[in-house]
Symmetry: C2
Subunit: 133 residues, 2 copies
């Protein structure tokens, strides 16, 4: 049975459940940052997914990327499945701007997270749900 | 027409051409590190690829991951398409070990690259070509 890793749960807010992935917003207002977690049990690596699920994951990464593009028109989109800290497979889809505080480095570890204010988070989630439909 | 970005060309050695991607070995002996570059012109983001090519890319990322697993049995495989420095779409597929010098951080910028000695590079390429068949 799928269960979201406690660390991901703590760091994110739920946007939606897609056919394969739980779509989450990283609670860090520094970057528009989505995380996709395939809703399958005991999956660590992309190669642990069945081939059909790998295809779905690519479709959903693409869908998340297009949503980011529509909502914030970033300079680049960074996509990554790392899993060095949290073993459960999760894919980062992050909108990057040339004036963001980590640019051009990757975001991980660059600057401490700045959580959204509760109102701003609720508003952002509403926007994401609309644009990711 | 597809042309490999000069910076990627300078930092890597050719392993093989797959149906979609040029498969390259990063010339950094610190990590077993492959780079896949879709052989399509003017592609920056995954969403610039046609849907069929997106599927092929996922298959090839998976194939590269399984090859890394067979050859070096890593603790994790890090997969990433960043493109903040080199705009041409390229996907990193990197074998990570809990005793590598960047662990658990991402590899980018962690420690300076240590190029392979010429003999070691030639030997490594032979191994990669065998395991990635």
């Amino acid at each position: 049975m799928f269960e979201l890793h406690a660390r991901i749960q703590a760091d994110t807010a739920l946007v939606a459940d897609w056919p394969l992935s739980r779509v989450l917003l990283m609670n860090d207002s520094t970057y528009p940052w989505l995380i996709l977690v395939p809703r399958r049990a005991a999956i660590a690596e992309i190669t642990d997914l069945e081939t059909d699920d790998q295809r779905l994951l690519m479709e959903e990464v693409s869908r998340a990327s297009l949503g980011l593009r529509r909502l914030v028109s970033p300079h680049r989109i960074n996509i990554a499945a790392l899993g060095n800290v949290v073993p459960q497979l999760h894919v980062h889809v992050i909108a990057r701007f040339t004036d963001d505080p980590a640019w051009p480095r990757p975001v991980w570890g660059a600057v401490p997270a700045t959580p959204y204010a509760p109102d701003a988070l609720a508003e952002r989630l509403t926007q994401w749900r609309e644009v990711l439909e």
